[in-house]
Amino acid sequence: MTAAIQVNAVEKSFGNVQIIRDLNLSVAKGERHAIIGPNGAGKSTTFNLISGHIKPTSGEIRLNGEVTSGLRPFEINRRGLSRSFQVTNVFARMTVWENVRCAVLWATGHRYAFWKNVDTLPEVKQRTAEILDEIHLSHRRDVPAGLLTYAEQRELEIGITIAGGASVIMLDEPTAGMSHAETERAVALIRRLTEGRTLVIVEHDMSVVFGLADRISVLVYGHIIASGTPEEIRGNPKVKEAYLGEEVD
């Protein structure tokens, strides 16, 4: 079976500074995969490479077997990969409803249509309503996204990410800055919404990582030093030394 995401020997340099060194990563279909590592290890860069936000200096990235390194983000998105951002990245002046609806339009085949009334497309309407219901923002549908609370914006961020129906979902620190109760809510939401899809998540909160992930990869200085089940990672001496220390025990 082909992997959902396959990263082969990817390198990324900014000028003389090498951020990613010989990165190899394989995420199976339907797997929940967490990437952890200390600050500055290159987690967000890895996300940006896989989602097409930046291009690798060398190496190859495949999505469901198809080479995607070198493609633009929207081309990768159309092939079934969707990502969220660490810093909330919504359409601030548009309402919650319109935010989600925009994310539904391409997937429902309406593309750049300028001859259809967007308010009367039944499948768009239904899908948008479903997503809003799932992220518990139906009661806030007419509020401009910029006026939402922080936690609500994070939920909307996830909603936009899943709205297109991508088979591979990448979430960049979805619970960053949330309180304990909000984190629990968000994790339950992520678990439910990514059912049957492939999930790649970057997260600092270890309880979230170990509670959610089927497999974990540890990234240190732009290189994956270990990849395995939570138990394997917990018991891996290299990981302990490089990153986790006593925290995991």
Binding site: W106, A151, E182
Partner: protein, 430 residues
């Protein structure tokens, strides 16, 4: 501890009869366009209405870029002017070959001209938004405007290219010689264009334009290429600008290089911004006001552009949402029924503000007419620019008006806060 969201009331409440009031607005607009020349039937007002109609289409087309897609163009007159030139050439060709094409079709040809030019240069221009786009639009604008003086066969040099709108075949007995017939032709195109441009905002493309305006980076991650979105928006804006240019060519029976220049581009930016770019109807208000001021002020003062500048700076600083923004700010208060508590403070603030404005006008006119022009006529009172009494009056009005206005506007802000709090409690304001 949780800081779970507390406000659970939706901001906009559903109005009953939404569809009815929606079509009602368009019907009222159409009726107004038909009735207007019957009420104000003088030649001067017909000319004004015709120019305002054209300005409305032009400003709305500009807002496809600025308000809808977030593209700041300094060269929108290029599409407008090229539409005008193409319309003039088309009219001359139709007349000389006796083709059976009536005049009302000509603006469409202007539109196609504007769109064709956008198609040609747009792909490169819209690669990036922001400063890059603004600078390229300025460059293309200057390029085309200066070429229009050099390429004499196409643009007719400084004198431009003339035409005769009555030389085309008449339609239902209309020759389009009299201004009233031209007015109705323009009014027809205003309705068609405004409806089409409004409809465009309600399509998938229109909504994605808004998304590109708000956050082009994120648009790439929901499957869209922001470059394509900007390019399409640029073509639509060019199309409707070309229609406006074609109408101008019909109205004046000439196209010249002034149509393409930076002044025209500045004026449309000005109209859209003063009217308010965040709402569809904003540029309509702006076009009406700016054209009216332009026609009215030029006969009263030689430094009318200075007043334009002051109004523009005032809007940018104190009401960046434009006239539409100011109006829409009051909507929740009207719904909550608290507008009445704000109005008295407005009336009080209006007096010193007016005094301040008069003082500024007196100062400007004093400077402008110091070297012996006609006396300044302000509210029927004659002022002599060289008289010290005039300077004193101006100083008193400016300083006194400013000091009192500051206090009264603070009162307005307080009254606003109270009214807004009530509106918020009643669930009409987020």
């Amino acid at each position: 501890m949780t800081n779970a969201p507390t406000p659970s009331i939706a901001v906009t409440k559903q109005e009953p009869g939404g569809a009815l009031s929606f079509y009602g607005v368009w019907l009222i607009a159409a009726a107004a366009l038909i009735v207007l020349p019957l009420i104000f039937s003088s030649g001067g007002s017909l000319t004004s209405f015709s120019l305002i109609g054209i300005a409305i289409i032009f400003a709305l087309s500009y807002n496809i870029l600025l308000g809808q897609t977030g593209l700041l163009s300094f060269g929108h007159a290029v599409q407008y002017g090229l539409g005008g030139f193409l319309a003039v050439h088309a009219m001359n060709a139709v007349a000389s070959h006796n083709w059976p094409i009536p005049l009302p079709v000509i603006p469409l040809i202007g539109g196609i001209g504007g769109m064709a030019f956008a198609l040609l240069v747009g792909w490169v221009m819209t690669k990036r938004a922001g400063t890059v786009f603004a600078m390229i639009s300025l460059g293309i604008g200057e390029l085309v405007a200066s070429s229009s003086l050099i390429l004499r066969s196409v643009f007719g040099g400084e004198s431009g290219i003339t035409t005769d709108r009555t030389s085309l075949m008449p339609l239902f007995g209309w020759t389009f010689g009299p201004q009233i017939q031209v007015y109705y032709l323009i009014a027809f195109w205003v309705m068609i264009s405004a409806i089409a441009m409004y409809a465009l905002t309600r399509t998938p493309l229109g909504r994605i334009c808004n998304a590109v305006r708000d956050n082009p980076e994120r648009v790439e991650f929901i499957g869209y290429d922001p470059h394509v979105v900007r390019y399409l928006a640029y073509m639509f804006a060019g199309f409707f600008a070309g229609i406006a240019g074609g109408l101008t060519a019909i109205n004046f029976e000439i196209a010249n290089s002034a149509y393409l220049g930076a002044t025209q581009s500045g004026l449309v930016l000005f109209s859209a911004f003063i009217g308010g770019t965040a709402y569809f109807f904003g540029p309509i208000l702006g076009a009406i006001l700016v054209t009216y001021l332009q026609l009215g002020l030029t006969s009263v003062t030689s430094v009318w552009q200075l007043y334009f500048g002051i109004i523009f700076i005032g809007i940018v600083m104190f009401a960046p949402g434009g006239i539409a923004g100011i109006l829409m700010k009051h909507r929740p208060l009207i719904r909550a029924g608290t507008l009445g508590t704000v109005i008295p403070s407005y009336l009080v603030a209006a007096i010193p503000t007016l005094a301040l404005a008069l003082g500024v006008i007196l100062t400007i006119e004093t400077v402008a007419r110091f070297s012996g022009d006609a006396a300044i006529n302000l509210l029927g009172i004659p002022f002599v620019a060289t008289a010290p009494t005039t300077w004193a009056a101006a100083a008193v009005l400016v300083v006194g008006g400013f000091l009192v206005a500051r206090i009264t506007w603070r009162r307005v802000a307080e009254a606003w806060d109270r009214a807004a709090t009530v509106a918020r409690d009643r669930g009409y304001l987020a």
